[in-house]
């Protein structure tokens, strides 16, 4: 397996070991040793829970900068619908799209078409799926990675359909290279993302294929610029620039897809990792029956609650409802484009998602059982207070680290009271 990449980095110089990240990590993927946080990369699912919590700002998302885009001749923005929920009630998606053009993008892709296409592809897939049910949406990269790490028996339930942003990247490259006579490599497909997890799905897709996108820019990265560009435009008039999409069609496509053909009883939308985990636990036991499709988003509230958004989730949600309520009827052009593309494009997922091997690769079952028994034994010596001072988030994870010889059991301050002084010196400021 190639080295795993992640959508953020920890700056060791800035880290002063406050452990907020370690305590917030749902998969216990962070350890803090000698006052520095470090990631166990196989366990990280890129949920970004740690991102905003660092008091010294040592954890940052690896998005791309505008300077990196200069090597491309034609830059196209594929904006997550979450972007349009970030501004004032009177700011329309078309205005936001226009501001993206002013920022230097050569086109704003009419992404709602791709979202509609994938909604259809998902419905068709659900209808013809032989089982096992429920199928699970894969557009949230965190959900895919959560399943790879914590629910390996459910990988085959991830719906084998591409994410809408991927087919947007594929189609815009095809279209603009043809219309402008450019080399496909000269065109950049840039996702304007509400979270850092989409970056990792571009850098290293879980299905082990190459992404059709070239990078992601966080909403928070472009927020100020969009705001100032929008305020400078006095007229609401949007002037199309030749072939360039201007975002009139951006209305269609809410952050969470809608599947009117799937009945409410057979379709569950879920948001927030805690709730998703509860439901996944039940699915794994075979307890959830009669549900055909789960749409899952790791962030509470879905993508509009992503960690690279700016607006408060509840305000953004109200803006989204406002957008939906004022949505004009889909233009004929939109429906024609959906029909045209649905007939000619293939939306099935390239490659397949496999469980992520944690330790399985290095040692055999016998050794793993020995380690588990050793960890159970070692845990008996620990206080199970989960204070974290050893540098592991729970006593159980410390016992497991010690059993696998990744840590010294005596790092526990209850076993070695002198460690308090070591820590006092380390954290002295």
């Amino acid at each position: 397996m190639p080295e795993l990449k992640h959508g953020f980095k920890i700056d060791a110089d800035k880290c002063n070991g406050r452990m907020n990240c370690m305590r917030s990590c749902p998969t216990h993927a962070i350890r803090v040793k000698n006052g520095k946080a470090r990631l166990i990369i196989e366990l990280c699912i890129d949920c970004g829970s740690c991102l905003g919590l660092c008091p010294t700002g040592a954890i940052s998302a690896t998005t791309i900068t505008f300077a990196e885009l200069d090597r491309f001749k034609f830059k196209v923005a594929v904006a997550s619908p979450a972007l349009f929920t970030q501004f004032g009630l009177k700011d329309t998606p078309a205005q936001v799209g226009r501001a993206l053009l002013d920022l230097g993008f050569d086109a704003v892709w009419e992404y709602s078409v791709d979202i509609e296409l994938i909604d259809r592809a998902i419905m068709d897939c659900v209808k013809s799926w032989p089982g096992p049910f429920p199928l699970i949406s894969n557009s949230c990269p965190v959900i895919v990675r959560l399943i790879q790490v914590a629910y390996p028996s459910m990988v085959e339930q991830l719906i084998p359909v591409e994410a809408p942003r991927e087919i947007a990247g594929r189609e815009l490259r095809r279209r603009y290279s043809q219309e402008l006579g450019l080399n496909p490599e000269e065109i950049a497909a840039i996702y304007i993302t509400p979270c850092q997890a989409k970056t990792i799905s571009i850098l290293q897709p879980a299905e082990e294929a190459k992404s059709y996108l070239d990078g992601a820019v966080g909403i928070s990265q472009v927020y100020n610029d969009i705001l100032s560009k929008m305020r400078k435009v006095t007229s609401n008039e949007v002037t199309p620039k030749g072939l360039v999409g201007t975002g009139e069609l951006l209305y269609w496509g809410s952050p969470e897809g809608e599947f009117p053909e799937l009945s409410r009883e057979h379709y569950l939308p879920l948001t927030g990792l805690t709730d998703v985990i509860k439901v996944f636990d039940d699915i794994e036991k075979g307890k959830i029956r009669n549900i055909e499709f789960l749409e899952c988003h790791a962030c509470p509230g879905g993508c509009i609650g992503g960690n690279l958004t700016v607006e408060n989730l509840y305000v953004a949600r109200s803006k989204n409802l406002h957008l939906l309520a004022n949505m004009p009827k889909p233009a004929l052009e939109f429906e024609k484009e959906v029909e045209r593309r649905y007939a000619v494009e293939d939306f099935s997922l390239r490659g397949s998602v496999k469980p992520r091997r944690i330790e399985g690769e290095v040692v055999d079952l016998r050794e793993r059982v020995t380690r588990k028994k050793r960890a159970d034994e070692l845990l008996k010596a620990l206080p199970v207070l989960n204070c974290g001072l050893c540098g592991a988030p729970t006593c159980k994870s410390h016992a497991e680290d010690a059993a696998a010889k990744r840590a010294d059991l005596n790092d526990c301050v209850f076993l070695s009271p002198h460690r308090i002084d070591v820590l006092r010196n380390l954290y002295k400021k």
């Binding site: 390996p152 028996s153 459910m154 039940d282 075979g286 307890k287 469980p355 399985g360 059982v369």
Partner: protein
């Protein structure tokens, strides 16, 4: 028979629907953390859950024991309860003696034993009316060394 690597037992309380599923949940975490490969893990968890639900629904109490060897995972369930008068009938899909309350909770559709049989490589049920039931399920592990 392959050497036993691990044996762990869990108590199941009959009629406690609130806690139903916790034992199979624990078993899943153990097996997942041991890196049991996906297909076997899936079958194991389904069998453990159905077995646990049968105890919760019909018995007073029971124990579920997980026995792991190099080659397979075995689940042994022993309960104190009413027993099954006609085991062959109990294996028929859709046959159930569940009460309406159980059905309201989404259980008791007569798929428990058939589902366990489908998901295990060997399944044996022994029962004595008025005393209790014992279930032995074996699930082969794919070579995942």
């Amino acid at each position: 028979m392959a050497a036993e690597l691990l044996r762990e037992s869990f108590e199941i309380q009959g009629q406690n629907f609130e806690k139903a599923g916790e034992v199979s949940g624990e078993i899943k975490v153990i097996l997942r953390d041991l890196g049991i490969e996906a297909a076997s893990l899936r079958r194991l968890v389904i069998v453990a859950f159905e077995a646990e639900m049968n105890v919760v629904m019909y018995a007073r109490r029971g124990t579920l024991t997980l026995i792991l060897t190099d080659e397979d995972a075995n689940l042994e369930v022993r309960d104190e309860g009413p027993g099954i008068p006609d085991i062959e009938l109990a294996f028929k899909e859709g046959y159930s003696t569940a009460s309406d309350e159980m059905r309201d909770m989404g259980f008791g559709f007569g798929m428990g034993l058939p589902n366990m049989k489908k998901n295990s490589d060997e399944l044996k049920v022994e029962s004595e009316v008025g005393i209790g039931t014992q279930v032995f399920a074996k699930i082969k592990l794919n070579s995942n060394a």
